[in-house]
Symmetry: C3
Subunit: 465 residues, 3 copies
Amino acid sequence: MKIRRLFIFLALIAACFYFVEGIAEAGGNLPGDPTGAGERTGKSQVPIDFIWLMYCASIVLFMKAGVCFFGGFLRQKNMLNFSTHVFMDSCSGSMAFWFIGGAFLLGGSELAAGYEHGNWFMGTSGFMNVGRAYDITNVTFWVFNCVFCTISVSFIACAVAERMKLVPYIIVSAVFCGWIYPVFGHWVWGGGWLAHLPFGSGVWDFSGSSIVHMQGGIVAWVGAIVVGPRIGKFGKDGKPRFFKPHNVFYGYIGIIILWFGWFGFNPGATLLGTDLRLTIVCINTFLAAASAATTMFFLSIAMTGKVNIAQVCVATLGGLAAITCSCAFIPVWAAVIVGVIAALCYRGGKYLMDWVFKIDDPLDSVAVHVWSGMWGVLSLGIFADGSYEGVRGILYGDAGQLLAQFICVCASAAWAFANGFALFLILKYTCGVRVTKEQEEMGLDQAYHGVDAYPGRAHEEGEAA
Amino acid sequence: MKIRRLFIFLALIAACFYFVEGIAEAGGNLPGDPTGAGERTGKSQVPIDFIWLMYCASIVLFMKAGVCFFGGFLRQKNMLNFSTHVFMDSCSGSMAFWFIGGAFLLGGSELAAGYEHGNWFMGTSGFMNVGRAYDITNVTFWVFNCVFCTISVSFIACAVAERMKLVPYIIVSAVFCGWIYPVFGHWVWGGGWLAHLPFGSGVWDFSGSSIVHMQGGIVAWVGAIVVGPRIGKFGKDGKPRFFKPHNVFYGYIGIIILWFGWFGFNPGATLLGTDLRLTIVCINTFLAAASAATTMFFLSIAMTGKVNIAQVCVATLGGLAAITCSCAFIPVWAAVIVGVIAALCYRGGKYLMDWVFKIDDPLDSVAVHVWSGMWGVLSLGIFADGSYEGVRGILYGDAGQLLAQFICVCASAAWAFANGFALFLILKYTCGVRVTKEQEEMGLDQAYHGVDAYPGRAHEEGEAA
Amino acid sequence: MKIRRLFIFLALIAACFYFVEGIAEAGGNLPGDPTGAGERTGKSQVPIDFIWLMYCASIVLFMKAGVCFFGGFLRQKNMLNFSTHVFMDSCSGSMAFWFIGGAFLLGGSELAAGYEHGNWFMGTSGFMNVGRAYDITNVTFWVFNCVFCTISVSFIACAVAERMKLVPYIIVSAVFCGWIYPVFGHWVWGGGWLAHLPFGSGVWDFSGSSIVHMQGGIVAWVGAIVVGPRIGKFGKDGKPRFFKPHNVFYGYIGIIILWFGWFGFNPGATLLGTDLRLTIVCINTFLAAASAATTMFFLSIAMTGKVNIAQVCVATLGGLAAITCSCAFIPVWAAVIVGVIAALCYRGGKYLMDWVFKIDDPLDSVAVHVWSGMWGVLSLGIFADGSYEGVRGILYGDAGQLLAQFICVCASAAWAFANGFALFLILKYTCGVRVTKEQEEMGLDQAYHGVDAYPGRAHEEGEAA
């Protein structure tokens, strides 16, 4: 089994070096502008764009704490292992994004020095921020996109939580950050084929409902299928069973952190602090979350007489996932409607996953990121009012935009399903993806880390190191 | 009882529509400037003002996590219910603020397109950010004021915690965000009568000690009176009894988050990132918190020989609540003094509430927000040194300013008491405000949410969904 | 013993007043510019620099929450006391920094009005932000430097946790913030002798590996020596023993908050939002943390077959501590290497502390801040590529820079050891630094605060106040 692991690792390295050849050409003796001397004097870029993006990137990084707190909805015995997945996505995942992902995503977009080369399918320059890509503008976009990508991959961690092996997860994380996400992202954000569709204004996805949410969400779906349900999730009658969360309070902290982070996630996607549309982005993001939460709050009371806190928290996330695509393009009242429908999409998606598809998704990752996210991509094609970039939805006279958005949804799903299955099946038949029954019952914290999440007063007397 | 609820709901809706008529006029065929094209070319507003306000708004939103962590000073069995109050303030509360509150607060201030109409009492334009109010500047101010308002309402949640019914609380939250807070806010910030008092320079309240803190704090006081003390809070001898907090550590996390958030709360109230006085605001805010905490730390040691952590945390909040009004107007040394006295005001206010008024205020919300807040409003009339907006306190020669601030305190208290009592008494005699004895003893988490805050390892085996 | 305490206090006050005399001269009738009117019209400073620094300062303040969460690696019975140390560093510590520290650090740097006077050893103007130091630029630098200093002092809290007396710790905190840190900081940042060394470009330490990390870390080392190991830390055979953490999950939250905060800590040290090199700082900071974490993750698996979460979290911190010095000067690929080596330095340093020096450092404060920090200071002398401020390391042709950095390490260690020992030994032989055996076994939360960190459901019935 160790040999298999080694083989996979070597194959990955080899693939990397193939692309890294690009560095020689791109980087040679054409240095970028790491000091920004050029920027300061002539170009239209101003410092405000840089500090805006760095501020946004930083609070998106902080969203990781919110995702970790969402682990409160898992069982206590797996809390640390889940958090390890989420944390390592930012670490080993960003190493992969640095090595190849950033270049695949942004190469050819011509957003900055070092990102000159790319084609309709993928970028081919800007690897590892060396040579011309050692440039103040280049690294700004890299950091901002890296934190996006490493959030997206954590949606997979949510869906495979409590039962996936650790190192295979790290490989999934690296491949997602280095290949799956960047290539699809290139199609929309990097000047790839979706951005140039001849319908409407081509596909628009402001902060990435189809990229961040659907790529992460669909690979999460695939992961949940391949890894299989947790022991005891489905009873002998085939009906889903419910594991009580171990810390419900963490759900509120998690969603507040995520909501906060979305103030960097969405408005930051203007890429320019001087694009004043960012304020419309802020209010739309804020109101979609609020309306989704309010909808779920009253729906929960109406359905059960009590307020299901987990569902209120996750529905808020659904509102945020949906508005991510359309936030810059739609009027304020439409954002409220997007939020309301996103909450219903999440709740419906959760029902489908539990009762129809019978797939075990511990943190409703798929329901939120795929179903609410898909609604978000389409919502742009409905409500866009033409006040930004001239994009109009079907309500404002352009049915073509809705078609473009629909194609985007299909392409996103197809790419993520295809790559996700390939990746998870290769892992399943080489190093395996599922922990043993003993490990699962013991809890992955003990199995992989030899420690409980909250030992509390146990063992205060000390033991041999 | 359900009929009563319905009636109230309909009455609210009717009231809303009455005012929303204003939209037709304001919004008709006079669109705002949602793209900011006008801003970019001619006006004095610059992007820095927008990103500054959006940054500040985002960390004020994050303060909600701090308020939730303060729930650690409650009993464990009510943690989730308290957090639900706090979270829904940001959701259903901001819906009410979007529907009517923002227009009542800012209409007539002429701060932005859509806010043209208003009078000495309230604003009458800018509802729901449609029409002319669909404008980049307008929505910026809306978002910033919305997060302020939805923090203020959570002070009520603190005072009625552990014993108030859930849906009536949501109604209180909506009425506060849609009516009580916006109208008083209009008096000071929206060009209402207090701003034009003929004493000193008229009332000045930089970030809202009399608005955010006193409005929230006094309605909280009313709520605590009407809802009544928790079972067992006062012994048979009438003496207050003390419920042990369930998580003291959360207090530190809460106050650090709140302190952090105040770096958006106070300096953001310049409304302009280009108003460089914001740096004086930052240092004053920082030092008032530090001096209040230090004062309470040593006072606590002097009084009991131990350090009472809850009181140190809440006293820090008192320092912040006080400096909120005067932060931009006073010299640095005065901020230290404001903090010291704010800590004493809090401690004295707590004594009054517990031993003299015998009102049960689980998180010392009234002591902090009313007593320290009131001191803050007056402190501006004492220490303002004329270096900002020409405002001088009595120490620098203008006794009239102190008089204006005193009138502001009285008006704030009168408005909040009158509206608070009307609201809570209507609710008390229609749908009721107090949970049953059984629910209170069981804990509101089980009663309203059917789950404990921290189930931990319980029920790990799963149960029927 | 009380008399001794009084004596120390009076001596400190006397020393303060000596220096505060400077105010009369500096402050007299030469006011600063608290409104910024001058800034807005003529000077090169622009608002963006101010909001950038205030944003950075605010998230550095928030890092305190991260440090508190690191207390999860301690035993539960001391959690509150540790958090009190950390919190009071920001309160009483910043009072000391306001009183004298800021002036000692920045006086003579001529960065702003009020900071005109100083010499090679220390600054002598700008006390208490009065007079000319009541100026928008002055207070901006003060706030930014204050949050740095009050983070640094908390590294001492980490090393003396679970066994140091409370009030002596507060004295250490005040002396560190008022004297030890500012004076050494002046040597590098305030125009002191290290900044003008005739080797390379003189010492450069961008955000303070030698200042924030090494000063705090070495005084922490001294503290750990003087206070002595916790009962039971070393077995009868002299081998170190291991106390189980009480909450491992908090480690992840802590490190994510700290990582987030470093987005203010390092790029803020440009002191100018218009110095676009800050984007290179961001990517280098980000990647050093990621590579350090990834290194420790795989190292941990290789060494033990399991992932030691505490070590992964602390190694990430090591990567951040190291890159703090060199982040602005080195290319991106070098930042990855700095992170990898920092993780090894931390792990080696921890081995030395535990097994060779046999010093009890509960949170590996010394291993991270001294060993990784020292590597960081030297790394600038190796990898600096000349693209910023013309600073070149030995790889780019300037061996003198490495010599300068080496001298900086030695000076930092010498100053901190000398002052640290003087301070701790004076305290030891006057008021004592170590709690009693009974207190230590009972836990400091009960001993000093009379309450547990997490009482949970205990005592819900209330008790006499």
